[in-house]
């Protein structure tokens, strides 16, 4: 008898659980990393959206910035990935080519939405004719110069390579006369292969070097200008000794410590650096200037591109709720939402035309420099394998040349050959 009742209860429970399906659509949103200010904002945005859209529930998952590719590939492979996510735009080609992202240009109102964004930034999301995301925040690489050290030496931030080299030499000093150098002219982020390639590339690009040809079939960083860029850093390291000797072990944290404690005068950084410095040494000032250019290209100082990187919001090609996800994406990438990025605490720059041109944004520190640089900047070439290539091939060979293990020409030639071999192996 007892068994009979138990069986009936079980069957009733099954019916109850199956009889009513929820009519609320659940959109999985994975956010990777972000400064605290951004994280607070995104949590609030999701909450507001959920409160005002009862038929949709956006579920925010906060993930590590350092494992974006691993987490996404694992999620997609298991068929459990998000509907929408944040991701570096340099992965647009990789994930787009893999069929993981939905081409946003398939949405009927895409062209209208696209008009919101600065065209140069929007192009970063394009691969093979398709747009794979809407821009979130953008970054562009610039040169930061320690104001205290530059003012004490009575020199202006450099514009050309010869000024750059000279400034680094003059700012490399033995301050206490014990024969040991206490202050260096330049620090490079060498402890992280990705970070290093993101410092080398802006110097190359500002020298007119293309990492790959326009049709992304040829590598061009071993061009004479590319080799000259590496030689500049090698000479500064090996001949002038104006680059911190331990740079190969440094991550961003060490660079910030060195900069804030006046042990280095210059570093190639981006808009995130302001907040890092404020956190470490409130009130510390620095000059923000474009990355120097070769002397013979100084007339193009304002127009030569630096490296642009950008966080975008792609939609998964496997999403079962494309329309709802697209609506949510348009909401968080409206011009109103983009106002968030006028605050330097987010670490990024705005991407919508309305906010880029707004008077509020113009008040941002060093905005004149960022405004010009972001409009002329260039992203990594739209090739599916560009990130592994620059991180694992360009970076180590560049480092070998800088410390003198190889000549700049041999290093860049070897890097190009290895990059072709990697592509060949992939085929």
């Amino acid at each position: 008898m007892r068994l009979k009742y138990a069986a009936m209860l079980l069957i009733a429970m099954c019916f109850l659980s199956c009889s009513r399906t929820s009519d609320v659509v659940e959109v999985q949103f994975w956010n990777f990393g972000g400064m605290p200010k951004f994280l607070d904002w995104i949590r609030k945005q999701v909450q507001v959206y959920n409160n005002t859209h009862p038929k949709v529930r956006v579920v925010l998952g906060e993930k590590s910035w350092h494992q974006i590719r691993e987490i996404l590939y694992a999620g997609f492979s298991a068929g459990a990935g998000p509907d929408i996510m944040t991701l570096h735009a340099d992965h647009a080609a990789e994930f787009g080519a893999g069929g993981y992202f939905y081409p946003l240009n398939n949405f009927p109102d895409f062209e209208q939405v696209k008009q919101r964004f600065e065209p140069n930034i929007m192009e970063s999301t394009r691969y093979n004719g398709n747009y794979y995301g809407l821009p979130s925040s953008a970054i562009v690489f610039i040169l930061v110069c320690n104001k205290q050290l530059f003012d004490a030496e009575g020199i202006a931030p450099p514009r050309t390579w010869s000024q750059f080299r000279e400034a680094a030499k003059r700012l490399t000093k033995d301050l206490d006369g014990d024969g040991a150098v206490d202050q260096y002219g330049l620090v490079l982020l060498g402890g992280d292969k990705g970070g290093f390639s993101y410092r080398l590339a802006p110097l190359m690009m500002r020298a007119g070097v293309k990492i790959m040809s326009n049709d992304v079939t040829k590598f061009e960083f071993n061009s004479p200008r590319g080799v000259a860029t590496v030689k500049l850093l090698a000479d500064m390291h090996q001949i002038d000794h104006s680059v911190t000797p331990g740079f190969l072990a440094y991550t961003l944290s060490e660079i910030n410590d060195l900069f804030c404690s006046n042990k280095v005068a210059m570093s190639i950084e981006g808009p995130w650096f302001q907040q890092l410095v404020e956190d470490k040494n409130p009130g510390k000032e620095f000059y923000t200037v474009p990355v120097p250019v070769p002397d013979d290209l100084v007339d193009q100082y304002k127009t030569l591109p630096s490296l642009q990187d950008m966080v975008m919001y792609p939609i998964s090609a496997h999403s079962k709720h494309l329309t709802e996800t697209w609506e949510f994406l348009k909401y968080i990438r409206s011009a109103e939402a983009d106002m968030l990025y006028i605050d330097h605490k987010t670490g990024g720059l705005p991407t919508t035309i309305q906010v880029l041109n707004s008077p509020e944004n113009a008040k941002r520190k060093a905005w004149d420099v960022y405004d010009n640089e972001i409009r002329h900047s260039t992203p990594w070439p739209a090739h599916p394998h560009i990130i592994p290539i620059v991180k694992n091939i360009l970076a180590p060979y560049g480092q070998k040349a800088i410390i003198g293990e190889m000549t700049p020409q041999d290093a860049m030639d070897a890097a190009v050959n290895e990059a072709y071999a990697l592509l060949e192996e992939g085929r």
Binding site: R69, E70, Y73, S77, E94, F95, A97, G98, G99, Y100, D178, G179, A180, V181, G190, G191, D192, K193, T244, P245, G246, F247, L248, A249, Y250, E254, D257, L258, K263, P384, P388, K391, N392, P396, Q399, K400, I403, E405, L422, E425, G426
Partner: protein, 289 residues
Amino acid sequence: MKRSTPYLLLAPALLFTGFILLFPLVQNLLNSLMHMTLGRGGTSWSGLENYSRVLSDGLFWLAFRNTVAYAVAGTVAALLLGLGFAVVLNARIGKFTDIMAFFYSIPWVVSPVVAGFAWKWLLNDSFGIFNEWLTSWGIVREDVNWLGDPRTALLCVAVARIWQFYPFAMVMFLAGLQCIPQEQYEAAEVDGATALRKFFHITIPNLRYVTAVLLLLGVIWSFNDFNMVFVMTRGGPINSSMVLPVLVREYSFVYFDVGKGSALSILVFAMLFLLSFLYLRVLTRSDAA
């Protein structure tokens, strides 16, 4: 009791072990025989091609040499240090022997990740305490670039590894020393043996099985050590401290070449299997003795 009862009782444990041990191993073996690159989609049979690609990669041989040096030299140094401390503690010199034993053991209980970060800061060229000491004592004039110099990076990681492994060796040696019959030392004293002769002719031979076990365990654990190297150097600068476990990660999660990463991990598994087999042989002989 039915004949099947023991098997039924064992089944959950066997299933669990099979799921967490055998399934990944077999899957990894299959992956190593496939062309499998995440992001490019599709898999196809490749036979032994992934193994051939690993073995013809210069980075593999660099990582192999580094791993062997890191594992063998690091373990031998940790054993010598552990033996030295064990002998001192066993002699019970002074009142604070037990307290000292506690302090000597601390590195063993520190998480490798925490230890790695601590060593990274201790060895920092600009702010590290080691350079501060060396310059203030006048031993060096310029700060030494410990982790940023390809010639010293692996050595520094090995020192951190020695620091972490020696307490385990010390405890094991101490246990071994306390098991040596005192009669042997008394007999040697009657024969007029010096302390040094007693050490080499009584202590060391009695510790041979402990030493063999420690040597094998130390090499196996160091061979498999990912945390310390990854936290301190990530295999850099310029791959100078690249070791096999970090290279498996590079292949699998940086290049997303799962086939090649799996092939390398199977090769590492084979090497460790051989070492484990030796370890079990030594244990068996030790038990028999």
